[in-house]
Every structure is written in structure tokens, then in C-alpha cells.
């Protein structure tokens, strides 16, 4: 508070971190600690989500085969060593929800954004540090509730005991998710916990978003004009705006679903549903499609919430290791804005076959394909950045190049799915699963990997092992392509998603070798993630200490402070910015990089 007299040491005023351990590392208001907390939360979640996908791949590759260890692990859900259909769907739901919310939304924004946005703009902390702490701990609570949802059947006295969460997929379409246990196992307590967790997550994200927006608009240091902001900051800012405007809609949908579930209202439940030899007379008049509208109004911007920080980070890392300014800096900002803005007007493309008015589908389709234009601009500019470069192939650079490749592979198939007619056969097949895994899943994860390798030494003060990092890259990059590109082919054969086996469909007869191949590729890729985990643990505990401020010879402000930075980032000084963010290979400059804080050469120099 301002009421206390600041201590002044030789004209420099420093803030010391709190003395008590719990205030310093647990309930900390320091954006750096909170960033690392978010990062660890996402790391935990991503390994949980991946373990779930491993079980799914076992079932899909060898449907009906018995695995002894499954029997031991899940004596009820996999009673005879095979994964039951409802357990499979529960895995699908938890995998999707955990990955989308607690990894893709959390790591790039809550993790890296929290840690580096204030430093990159030259601020001592976020605008509202207490709010920041609150938003992390609400996210933490949301994760705890989500994990509890997976064990809902153990809590629910009415349900059969066993590990089983909701089985509605991450989209939780009503009325399947709204009418309770009679719609199937897991739809009672499981859904209630699932939607409660999502509502909590919404609140946490809103708190975070308003903090990001205020921080970037108001706490920029002297000389840090909007045109000198690193592209990462623009991406985090746009992401925060998207979150601020889309999460309230999901929150509203979640509240309505909870009321339908618990208070007997009928927002999403139509009259006279006939379930299990019973007519549900207590509900009337609700609209199942309303849920889809509300969900996808959030759901589509959510895709960009996941990918935009990765885009900003990729531009940043490509420029740094290409030793070359970003190609078309301003255009990159406009493209981010365009993607964010258009993202609010395309939600209907998830609903072409849902029974909504087919005329609106045409409008949604045209706007959807126009998103391809700013996306193509970004790709073009990334390649432009590398043109004529002198590339240093560090691990973060490899992941950034991987991001561009995956962004192309995953984004371009949107051209099929965004067309009303071509979407008819492809909708809800593996083509869609392949598409969004590449773009929203793996590309965004590559952004997270790139950020982790890039900033590891700044965050933890230790160097991360590059050799392990590179092996991790090669195996992961080849692996994810081997998994998700064949998904499209399965979709083109017409394989519906969310099936625990396709064995009883004759027209998919020849698909078995492909699904087995995908499963093998998935096992290798998952194995490669263990290398990553080992690398993290090894480097954090035994890695060499990072002694340099600027090991990558980069330009932005986080590289002007020690690794890790002091409690108030700039040790009481206020950095002054003189240059744009990506001044590499400036002719006649002393180094091939000019930091943002380097004074501008005098005129005529």
C-alpha cells in the first residue's frame, strides 16, 4: 500500500520478496511464482491427459483384447481387462476437457503470459497481483473438481462403484448431459462436477484476462510504445480479450446446465423425453441447440485462445534464432487481431448438421474460410522471416519451425470442414479429430514446448539439456505427424469419432492396420514425452547454473535481467526502451542483435 514509506537505497527502491514460505511460494502474489505455478499445473495436467489417451489408444488399436494391468488398475471399469464402452467415453471426455482447459488454455497464457508479459513490457508485476493469485488458486480448485469428476461414481451412492466420469465428450451436448443418471452412467454426479469445474475455470480465466488487459495497456515502461511490443505481448493481449468476451458465455451455459440438472428447470430439455421406459414429464420446451450455440460461441474463440500465444511465441523465437527482424511486424499484429475478431463470428461451422437454419450455415461458412486469409498471412510471414536468415538450430527453434509446419498441416484442412457441403460427410468423423488435434492440440503444445526450452533458464536459473531436448523434438515431431495425419484418412473413410471400436462397421473393414499403426506411433510419442520429463527434472536439479542474462543473444527486456529475475524484475530500476523488439543483424551495429534498451545511435551515425 502507498501508506508505507518506501525504503530508498541510493536512489533505487527495491521490493523484497515476502519472508514467509507460504506467502513466497504458495499464496504468492509475484507474477513469476504464479506463472511457474500455472506451468506446473499444466505439466501435471498434460501427463494426466496423455495417460488417458494411452488407454484410449490401447482400446482402439486392439479392441476387445484383454490387458491384465487394466484389470488391476480399474477392477470395475475394466472388469475383464478390456475397456468398457462407457469407460472409453469417460476417458474421451476427461482427456478432452483436461487438455483443452488445463493445458492449452493454462500453460501458454497463465504460465508464460503471467511470467513474461510484465517483464517484456518493463513492469514490476501484473496490474492486480492479488487478483492474479486468486485466479491461479481458483484454477487449481477447478482442476481438483475436474479430477474428482472422473471418480464421480465412487462418490455417488446410487451409481455402480468404479472409476467413471461423465461420458458426454468435452462439448457435453445437452440433453445427454442435462437429464442425469438416466441418460447413462456418469451423467449424474459426474456431469455436475464436470460443469462445476468448468464454471470455476471460467471465473479464474476472467480474473486473469482482465489483469492481462490492464497490465498491457497501463504498465508499459517508458518508451515501450505499442509499436515496440514483442509479438508475444500482442498475442497474450488478444487472447485475454477473447477470453474476457467468450468465457462469460460458457459460464452462462454452465449455470443453465446446472439448473437443469439440479433445480428441475428446462433450458435445454425439451418436453416428453422418453428414457429407460419413462417419460420425463417434469421438463418442457427447452432447446438442445441452445446449448450448442452458447457452447460454440465460447468454443470457437477458445481454439484461438489456445493457439494465439503459440503464434506470438513462434514469431518471437523464429526471429531470435533466424537473427532477422520479423517479416511484416505490423501485418502480424493485424493478422492476430483479424483472427481474433473473425473467431467470434464463425461458431456456427461446428453446427452445420445440428438442425440450425441452413441459410445461416452459408454465412458461417464464408466467414470461416475468410479466417484462412490472416492465417495464410502469418505462415507467409514466418517463412519470410526465415528467408535470408542465419538460423541457429537450438531446441526452441526446432519446436518453433515444427509449430509452423503443424500449423499449416492442421489449419489447411479447415478448408474442407469450413465448407457446408464437404462438411456433411466429414462432420464428427476422425477427419475433424485429426484437424483439431494438429492445430489446436499439437501445434499449441509445440508452442508450449518452444516456450519451455526458450525460457527455461530464465524461469529456473538452470540450463536445460539441449541434446535431450533435440531427441525429444525429433521423436515428437515425427510421432505426432504419424498419429494425426492418418486420422484424416480414417475420416475420409467415414470413421465416426467417439467410438470405442469401429469393428462392427463393414465399410471401415480395412482400417484395422491403420489404427494399429497410429497406436504404435502414439506409444513412441508418449515415450518421447518421458524424455522431456526426465530432462525437466534432471535440468532443474542437476543442470548447470545459468550465469548469463542473455544466453540466446536476444533483444527483449526479459534478457536484460538476471536468470531468474529478482522479485520486482528490474531491481527497482525502470528500464527505458529505445528500439523495436526484433532488431537483429542491424547493419553497422556492434553486435548482430540490438537490445530494446540499447540507445538509438545518434543521427548521422
Amino acid at each position: 500500500m502507498a501508506e508505507t514509506v518506501p525504503e530508498i537505497h541510493g536512489g533505487v527502491h527495491r521490493h523484497e520478496p515476502p519472508k514467509r514460505w507460504i506467502r513466497r511460494y504458495v499464496f504468492s502474489t509475484d507474477h513469476k511464482v504464479i506463472g511457474i505455478q500455472y506451468w506446473f499445473l499444466a505439466l501435471f495436467s498434460v501427463f494426466v491427459g496423455m495417460a488417458l489417451s494411452l488407454l484410449m489408444r490401447l482400446q482402439l488399436g486392439w479392441p476387445g483384447e484383454q490387458f491384465g494391468f487394466l484389470k488391476t488398475l480399474f477392477p470395475n471399469a475394466a472388469a475383464n481387462g478390456t475397456i468398457s464402452p462407457e469407460f472409453y467415453l469417460s476417458l474421451v471426455t476427461m482427456h478432452g476437457t483436461i487438455m483443452v482447459f488445463f493445458v492449452l488454455t493454462t500453460a501458454p497464457q497463465g504460465g508464460f503470459g503471467n511470467y513474461f508479459l510484465p517483464i517484456q513490457i518493463g513492469a514490476a508485476d501484473m496490474a492486480f497481483p492479488v487478483l492474479n493469485m486468486l485466479s491461479f488458486w481458483v484454477t487449481f480448485l477447478a482442476l481438483a473438481v475436474m479430477i474428482l469428476a472422473f471418480f464421480a461414481n465412487m462418490i455417488d451412492p446410487d451409481a455402480a462403484i468404479g472409476v467413471l466420469g461423465p461420458i458426454g465428450g468435452w462439448t457435453g451436448y445437452a440433453p445427454l448431459s442435462a437429464i442425469g443418471e438416466s441418460a447413462g452412467p456418469g451423467q449424474g454426479t459426474g456431469v455436475v462436477l464436470w460443469v462445476t469445474s468448468i464454471a470455476l475455470f471460467c471465473i479464474a480465466s476472467l480474473l486473469g484476462a482482465l489483469n492481462f488487459i490492464t497490465t498491457m495497456l497501463n504498465l508499459r515502461t517508458k518508451g515501450m510504445s505499442l509499436a515496440r511490443l514483442p509479438l508475444t505481448c500482442w498475442a497474450w493481449f488478444t487472447t485475454a480479450v477473447l477470453a474476457l468476451l467468450s468465457f462469460p458465455v460458457l459460464l452462462a451455459a454452465g449455470i443453465l446446465l446446472l439448473l437443469d440438472h439440479l433445480a428441475g428447470t428446462s433450458f435445454f430439455i425439451p418436453a416428453n423425453l422418453y428414457i429407460k421406459d419413462n417419460v420425463l414429464t417434469e421438463h418442457a420446451g427447452g432447446s438442445p441447440i441452445l446449448w450448442q450455440h452458447l457452447f460454440w460461441y465460447f468454443g470457437h474463440p477458445e481454439v484461438y485462445i489456445a493457439i494465439l500465444p503459440g503464434m506470438g511465441l513462434t514469431s518471437h523465437i523464429l526471429s531470435t534464432f533466424a537473427r532477422k527482424p520479423v517479416f511484416g511486424y505490423r501485418v502480424m499484429i493485424y493478422a492476430i487481431f483479424a483472427i481474433g475478431l473473425l473467431g467470434f463470428f464463425v461458431w456456427g461451422h461446428h453446427m452445420f448438421q445440428s438442425g440450425m437454419d441452413p441459410r445461416t450455415a452459408v454465412a458461417f461458412s464464408l466467414i470461416t474460410l475468410s479466417i484462412g486469409v490472416p492465417s495464410a498471412i502469418k505462415t507467409f510471414n514466418w517463412i519470410g522471416t526465415l528467408w535470408g536468415a542465419r538460423i541457429r538450430f537450438t531446441t526452441p527453434m526446432l519446436f518453433a519451425v515444427g509449430f509452423v509446419s503443424l500449423f499449416v498441416s492442421g489449419g489447411i484442412t479447415g478448408l474442407f470442414l469450413g465448407q457446408t457441403s464437404v462438411d456433411i460427410p466429414l462432420h464428427d468423423t476422425y477427419f475433424v479429430v485429426g484437424h483439431f488435434h494438429l492445430i489446436m492440440g499439437v501445434a499449441a503444445i509445440f508452442g508450449i514446448f518452444a516456450g519451455t526450452y526458450f525460457w527455461f533458464s530464465k524461469m529456473f536459473g538452470k540450463r536445460i539439456n539441449e541434446t535431450m531436448g533435440k531427441v525429444h523434438f525429433w521423436l515428437t515431431f515425427i510421432g505426432v505427424n504419424a498419429i494425426f495425419i492418418p486420422f484424416h484418412v480414417m475420416g475420409m473413410q467415414g470413421a465416426p469419432r467417439r467410438y470405442s471400436t469401429h469393428g462392427n462397421l463393414e465399410y471401415l473393414g480395412g482400417m484395422a492396420p491403420l489404427t494399429k499403426f497410429i497406436s504404435y506411433a502414439a506409444f513412441v510419442t508418449i515415450g518421447a514425452q518421458l524424455i522431456f520429463l526426465v530432462n525437466l527434472i534432471w535440468s532443474m536439479t542437476r543442470g548447470p547454473k545459468e550465469t548469463e542474462e542473455n544466453p540466446w543473444e536476444a533483444t527483449t527486456l526479459e534478457w536484460t535481467v538476471p536468470s531468474p529475475p529478482p522479485h520486482d524484475n528490474f531491481a527497482g530500476h525502470e528500464p527505458v526502451v529505445h528500439r523495436g523488439p526484433y532488431e537483429f543483424s542491424v547493419p553497422n551495429a556492434a553486435n548482430d542483435f540490438c537490445k530494446q534498451t540499447d540507445p538509438e545511435p545518434a543521427a548521422g551515425d
Binding site: 500500500m1 527502491h13 490492464t214
Partner: protein
């Protein structure tokens, strides 16, 4: 210079509008970031009124989106007169809502008066108007509870029909937000009564007023939507 600024930041009892080279000059609500800072003072020590205002605008935008989403759900569920479902029965307007609406509109005026008084440094008026606003806010919440009890007495509950579902949902979500506003008002009122309004709390009054006006406008909107939108 440095010492002056430091003392200025320590101001707690000297009332409001104490001039000096503080942030934004003598006007705590002035826009724009201060250009120069005395040596020894870093950004942390500055009170940045703009920061709170931006944060509040962002918060209001997200609250607005929440109610926009619920409004669209309302309109979809209600349908057009031609497609209106038979179970859509508009509940009878509890008359106490007229009183509640009046209370909230008046409270919007009184908080504006306290904000103006704050700018004039008319401290007695600040105390008077802030206290009155808080009381009006509490009165509004009490009135809303009365309305619920009246409806419940008629046997109208949240699941009775879609209109009653929306009525309970929208009023309770709005009421929850108003409750937050009342807590903020209580905080600044107590500070004012104890003569402890420094620059920071002056900012708190300012953003609370923003929030309060928004809650007022939102209520008028919900009132019209629930009972007058056909």
C-alpha cells in the same frame, strides 16, 4: 521534491484533493500517466487511477457478456409470439420491484453526488451521500428478497415455468453482483466516516461508482426484459 512526493503518498488524514506533484497532478482521476517522477520513487509507489478504471471496464465488459449470453438464451427460449411454447407463462410483476427499481436509480444519483463532492473535497457531503448509497443498496437487496418471498408464497419457484426460471436466475445473478457492490461501498463508506480517504481510496470511490452505475443500468435493462419485452 522527492520528500514532498513521499509525504504526499503518505496522506491519509489530510482529506482529499491535496495538491502536489502526485500522480496525475492534483486530479486523482485525471487521465494519462504522469510524465516525470521524483527520484527515488518507482512505479510501484504510484497510484495509478487509470489502472483501476481499465480493470473495471474490462470487468464490466465480461459481466455484460454474461448477461448478453443469458439474454440470448431468454429470447431463444421465449420464441416469437407465433412459436411461443405453451409453458411460457409470464409471471405477474411483484409490485415491490417498482420500489426496488426506484431505490437503485436514486442510489445511482447519490453515488454520483458523492463522487462530485469528492472532487470538490466537500468531505461532509461525501460522507452523507456514500452512506445513503450504501443504505439504498442494502434496501434494494432486501426488496429483491421480499419479491422472491412473495413469489414463493404464490407457489412460483425456479422450476415452475421458464419465465420464473429466468426471473430467479437473472435476479439472483444481478443480486450477487449488487452484493459485491454493496461490500465495496461499505468499505469506502467506512473509510470516509473514519476520515481515511487517501488517493487510493478516492480511486476506490471512483471505480465503485462506475460499477454501481452499471449495476443500476443492468437492473433497469433486466426489469424491462423480464416484464416488458414481448
Amino acid at each position: 521534491m522527492g520528500t514532498t512526493a513521499t509525504t504526499d503518498l503518505k496522506v491519509t488524514n489530510s482529506g482529499l484533493g491535496s495538491s502536489g506533484p502526485g500522480p496525475g497532478g492534483s486530479d486523482p482521476f485525471g487521465s494519462g500517466r504522469p510524465k516525470d517522477w521524483p527520484p527515488g520513487i518507482t512505479r510501484d509507489d504510484r497510484i495509478e487511477p487509470k489502472k483501476y478504471r481499465i480493470g473495471m471496464w474490462a470487468a464490466l465488459a465480461s459481466i455484460l457478456m454474461l448477461f448478453v449470453a443469458l439474454t440470448s438464451a431468454y429470447i431463444v427460449r421465449q420464441g416469437t409470439p407465433a412459436t411461443r411454447p405453451a409453458d411460457w407463462i409470464t409471471i405477474e410483476l411483484p409490485p415491490v420491484l417498482w420500489l426496488n427499481t426506484a431505490l437503485l436509480i436514486v442510489s445511482s444519483l447519490t453515488i454520483e453526488l458523492s463522487r462530485r463532492a469528492l472532487k470538490r473535497s466537500d468531505y461532509a457531503a461525501v460522507k452523507r451521500w456514500l452512506s445513503l448509497t450504501t443504505l439504498l443498496g442494502i434496501g434494494f437487496l432486501a426488496g429483491q428478497i421480499v419479491a422472491w418471498r412473495q413469489l414463493a408464497a404464490q407457489g412460483i419457484y425456479v422450476s415452475t415455468n421458464p419465465h420464473s426460471s429466468f426471473f430467479y436466475l437473472l435476479t439472483s445473478l444481478h443480486g450477487l453482483h449488487v452484493l459485491g457492490g454493496v461490500l465495496a461501498l461499505t468499505y469506502v463508506t467506512v473509510a470516509a466516516l473514519r476520515l481515511r480517504i487517501g488517493l487510493r481510496r478516492a480511486v476506490a470511490v471512483d471505480v465503485t461508482a462506475m460499477y454501481w452505475h452499471f449495476m443500476d443500468g443492468l437492473w433497469v435493462y433486466l426489469f424491462l426484459l423480464l416484464f416488458f419485452w414481448k
